[in-house]
């Protein structure tokens, strides 16, 4: 049941939501939310903390630090 629920987002919209959604919403492409790390970013720690990730949630950057002054 959860699979069905997650697989068709349009079906989860309210009747009003369906009226307001463009046609493309009826043909969304479901895909497992990837937790795979796409690319490690190996930079100085003051500038980069973390990694780029498909989940859109991982922080990667920091700003200027002492190393940049040298």
């Amino acid at each position: 049941m959860d699979d069905d629920r997650n697989g068709d987002l349009f079906a989860r919209l309210s009747p009003e939501g369906r009226l307001l959604a463009p046609v493309g919403y009826r043909f969304l492409h479901p895909r497992a939310t990837r937790a795979t790390v796409l690319r490690l970013v190996e930079c100085r720690p003051h500038r980069t903390v973390g990694y780029v990730c498909g989940s859109f949630r991982k922080p990667i950057s920091r700003c200027l630090g002492p190393d940049d002054e040298t």
Partner: protein, 338 residues
């Protein structure tokens, strides 16, 4: 010093350009949109005609007053308040209140960002937030005016109008009028890709629906992703047509068996027209999507002023990150001259 306005996630290009700026002898400071959204300490003081703009991150104050040029790469993927419940104990009738709170916080955040951008107006910029959100439909019109082939396009709320469009142009696709989005619901992400619509799917639509964009479906030989930088085009051909997974939209990546991508040289006549379009749009950078139809037509789809460039740069060995760093350093140098 180059001031880079960017975002903290999904943005490896910024990191690579920063490395090149430093390798070429320059210095840069990076301010992310999400630093303004609470990751940095902010103090903006306006006293009379004087403005003090202070951002402090991990105890280090960003030396913004040393900036000699600005690169607007990106800014915010999402605002903090857009992802959290703002009401501690929302009642059944609180949907409107929650929406109003979010809308107001979004406007506050936009106004603050606009002011931060405006405080660097005296510097030379590469890309500018004012020109980062193009209207897809307006750009199509401008491209057509430059003599560039564009797909027949319909925006409608009526199934009957869509039927007539299909009768005239054949098969169609639908895609967002604005941005491609991924709706994340737990373990499943729902992507708004370009989607072909068959007759059965069109017949299953209600007579009236929300305004939606449709375009003629062009049988393509291959797709072109072109990165434009300061008067030059760096193009890559993507052979996405032979894989059912990527046929309608190459962004439905086949990671097991990736599309073949090769460097590509634009015909001079097409390049001239695209150049006029980019000048008309006042863009110095942009990721342009085109496709080459089986009948040889080169059809313009859209341009994203802050689009990804890594896939073109790395696979075609164009070193675009280095070229951007060089351009930024030239701008900084020009900005110093009286």
């Amino acid at each position: 010093m180059i001031l880079i306005l960017s975002q903290s996630s999904l943005e490896p290009t910024t990191e690579e350009v920063m490395d090149w700026v430093e390798a070429l002898g320059g210095r840069c400071v990076r301010l992310n949109g999400d630093d303004v959204e609470g990751r940095s300490e902010i103090r903006i003081e306006i006293a009379g005609g004087r403005l003090a703009l202070r951002f402090e991150s991990s105890g280090v104050e960003l030396p913004l007053e040393e900036a000699g040029a600005v690169w607007f790469r990106r800014w915010l993927y999402e605002r903090r308040h857009e992802t959290v419940d703002l009401l501690a104990d929302p009642g059944a009738d609180d949907h409107t209140l929650h929406h109003q709170l979010r809308r107001h916080l979004t406007l506050e955040s936009r106004r603050l960002s606009d002011f931060i951008f405006s405080s660097f107006e005296h510097l030379p910029w590469l890309s500018h937030p004012r020109r980062s959100n193009l209207n897809k439909l307006a750009v199509l019109r401008r491209a057509a005016r430059e003599g560039i082939a564009t797909p027949a396009t319909l925006v409608t709320t009526e199934r009957e109008a869509l039927r007539r469009f299909c009768a005239e142009h054949g098969a169609v696709i639908t895609k967002p009028i604005g941005e491609v989005e991924a709706f994340i619901a737990g373990e499943v992400s729902h992507f708004l890709f370009t989607t072909p619509l068959g007759p059965a799917e069109i017949e299953a639509l209600p007579e009236r629906f929300a305004p939606s964009l449709f375009q003629e479906r062009i049988e393509k030989a291959y797709e072109l992703r072109v990165f434009y930088l300061d008067g030059e085009f760096h193009a890559m051909a993507i052979f996405s047509q032979n894989d059912p997974q990527t046929r309608a939209d190459f962004r439905q990546y086949n990671r097991e068996r990736p599309n073949r991508n090769v460097p590509y040289r634009l015909r001079p006549e097409l390049a001239e027209r695209l150049l006029r379009l980019m000048e008309d749009l006042e863009l110095e950078t942009g990721s342009i999507d085109l496709l080459v139809a089986r009948d040889g037509r080169e059809v313009f789809l859209e341009v994203n002023p802050v689009g990804q460039l890594g896939m073109v740069s790395h696979q075609c060995n164009y070193q675009l990150e280095r070229e951007i760093a060089r351009l930024l350093l030239r701008k900084e140098d020009h900005g110093r001259r009286p």
